[in-house]
């Protein structure tokens, strides 16, 4: 196991820059998830750590050693690919033992490690099969097995669950987390699925447009998003946003929306009176049928079984609310809604969090 230090990493393809200076330290044994929309550079960063992409500028250290000029084979890392990348002409056992055979491990050692990995992943009865004779979930397990048979310095996962159906994905997610708790291996996991990010990560690295937007624990990112991007990306359904102006209002402060509605704030924020701001609130924090609420017409009702997503019109914009209660309300009716001040997030005109 080892820590990974990423310092001022840049990447460009020809004249097109993809990563604009990424700094990140991953502690020994930590599970870090890189999350962001397609094209944000998260996979590129992972492939640079693996040695599959050249580094345009900056340095990557694995276990204190600069690996910029090391071949992938000399970096001692393991990687699980989105496509699994199993060797089709080898049996499951040969797929898993390939790395050990390359290192000329003794036959008994290889057999022992394969047996252990197979038991861990429930592959005992499939060892002699070829990849084409396996289901998607089984292939995924073999890909994991190939990574865990040796004890590499770090595990890299490149969207390993994207090709599985929803139920299997949920199951494998749990298995990956359990495996990490058991092995305690330094892991970097790339995904665009924020549920995977939230559930698996010790720390999440939210990326957008080649820049790290925020690094923190999953609940950190959820409760205190550093900017509008993170606020909008983490959480489903996504956070509601209102643009407006920060003004003194009555005894305290409020955000006055474009059509004049006031969203009262619980406290003063570090900005001038009259500044343009964006105020955000998560759908699950929108309070329904509380005293003193604003009447909001219902636009759409989406029951999820688990709860209900209500699309409303309020404060001059669309507003989503999520409630665990069964809602019998119909489209066109009014619901009283309130935005609890302690649940509001305020961002300045550049999208940076205030207060």
């Amino acid at each position: 196991m080892a820590s990974i230090d990423i310092a001022a990493i840049h990447k460009s393809y020809g004249s097109i820059p993809v990563l604009h200076g990424v700094d990140l330290t991953i502690r020994d044994g930590e599970f870090v998830v890189l999350v962001g929309p397609s094209g944000c550079g998260k996979s590129t960063l992972l492939r640079m750590i693996a040695g599959l992409e050249e580094i345009s500028a900056g340095e990557i250290h694995i276990g204190g050693v600069c690996v910029n000029d090391l071949q992938p084979k000399d970096r001692d890392i393991a990687m699980v690919f989105q496509s699994y990348a199993l060797y089709p002409h080898m049996s499951v056992a040969d797929n898993m033992s390939y790395s050990l055979r390359l290192r000329r491990a003794a036959k008994e050692v290889i057999a022992g490690k394969i047996a252990t990995a197979a038991t861990t992943l429930g592959l005992e009865n499939l060892l002699q099969r070829r990849p084409r004779a396996l289901s998607g979930g089984q292939r995924q397990r073999v890909a994991m097995g190939r990574a865990i048979v040796r004890a590499p310095k770090a595990f890299l996962f490149d969207e390993p669950l994207s090709n599985l159906d929803a139920r299997l994905r949920e199951q494998m997610r749990g298995e990956i987390k359990r495996l990490h708790l058991r092995l305690g291996a330094t892991s970097i996991y790339v995904t665009h699925d924020q549920i995977e990010a939230m559930t698996l990560a010790d720390r999440i690295v939210a990326m957008n447009a080649g820049l790290v937007q925020q690094v923190g624990s999953p609940l950190d990112l959820y409760a205190r998003p550093a900017n509008l991007f993170v606020a909008g990306f983490i959480g489903s359904p996504a956070m509601n946003m209102f643009e407006g102006t920060y003004r003194a209002h009555g005894a305290g402060f409020a955000v006055i929306t474009k059509d004049g509605a006031a969203i009262p704030l619980g406290r003063a924020y570090p900005c001038e009176d009259g500044t343009s701001v964006t105020v955000g609130i998560r759908p699950e924090h929108v309070a329904i049928s509380s005293a003193g609420g604003v009447a909001a017409p219902v636009d759409l009702v989406e029951p999820t079984g688990f709860g209900t997503i209500l699309h409303l019109r309020a404060f001059g914009t669309d507003l989503k609310a999520f409630t665990l209660e069964r809602q019998t309300v119909r489209v066109g009716e009014n619901l009283p809604v309130a935005l609890p001040p302690e649940r509001l997030h305020l961002f300045d005109a550049q999208g940076i969090r205030l207060g």
């Binding site: 496509s83 990348a85 089709p88 990849p131």
Partner: protein, 277 residues
């Protein structure tokens, strides 16, 4: 509906049968003439099968002509050409498929360009180049020329096979601890066997049946290949059709054997299961 389907199937099969008959008829005629005794060759008129068959032409060709020597020369030239071209084309095709490098576009253009000239145009300059090197009238010279002409097409052929193999596979191998060359050798090449078989077969048959350069570069019997040798059955005053056809049938044997050997690799689908599909 069913009736129409049956009729359609019958028409389809008949069309295939007609095509196969047309394609194979010359081969049949080759076989038929090769077993027709000389005295019946001109006396029986056009018949589908002679009233009496004999292997006298085969015996004569094997015992009293230089055909065994031609045959051996052809095997040496074709096998060497196929072997060398396949190795070069595998490496070059892999490079074109996987790497971005300076001048790649122009190399591809240049290779395409070489395929655009009628070979006849090049006979004189090639002779002029090979003569001072002592490569005319030698099998080595023929191999050099055949390799040069076959590498571009074979490279494109191999490139298309490499393009069909996911890049993830060799990246996984490299992370597992292989060098790029080892990943190429142990992971990618085994998956390209159908492509290699196709390339080998293609180049072998091309070299096996090449006449133009063999005729122009070779003058003695010692270095003649069998297409040139076949012409020795044509003399000033007569053509020994029986012996020529017998030699032709025997010349078909290696090509057939070769395809029998590699046909199982020509069957595609080895990469199934590598990635989610």
């Amino acid at each position: 509906m069913t009736r129409r389907f049956i009729l359609g199937t019958i028409a389809h099969r008949l069309a295939i049968l007609a095509y196969v008959a047309v394609a194979l008829f010359p081969l049949y005629w080759l076989l038929k003439v090769s077993v027709t005794p000389n005295d019946l060759l001109y006396s029986e008129g056009v018949r589908m099968w002679p009233s009496r068959t004999s292997f006298e032409h085969y015996a004569f060709v094997l015992e009293h002509s230089d055909f065994p020597k031609f045959f051996k020369n052809s095997v040496i030239v074709s096998a060497s050409t196929a072997f060398i071209v396949t190795i070069l084309a595998s490496l070059a095709g892999y490079a074109l498929s996987r790497f971005a490098f300076r001048g790649k576009y122009w190399i591809v253009v240049l290779m395409l360009l070489t395929q655009m000239f009628p070979l006849v145009m090049l006979v004189a300059p090639i002779f002029k180049m090979l003569a001072p090197l002592g490569l005319t009238n030698s099998l080595t010279g023929l191999v050099v020329v055949y390799v040069a002409f076959n590498v571009p097409f074979a490279t494109f052929l191999m490139q298309s096979f490499f393009d069909g193999i996911p890049k993830d596979l060799e990246e996984a191998a490299m992370i597992d601890g292989a060098t790029r060359f080892r990943a190429f050798r142990q992971i990618i090449l085994p998956l390209t066997l159908p492509g290699i078989a196709a390339t080998l077969g293609f180049v072998f048959t091309a070299a096996w049946s090449e006449l133009l350069f063999a005729l122009m570069l070779i003058s003695g019997v010692d270095a003649s290949t069998f297409p040139v040798g076949l012409l020795t059955f044509v003399s000033k005053f007569s053509v020994d059709f029986g012996q020529m056809m017998a030699a032709g049938v025997m010349a078909l044997i290696p090509a057939c054997l070769f395809f029998l050997l590699i046909q199982r690799y020509l069957v595609q689908g080895l990469t199934a299961g590598a990635v989610k599909g």
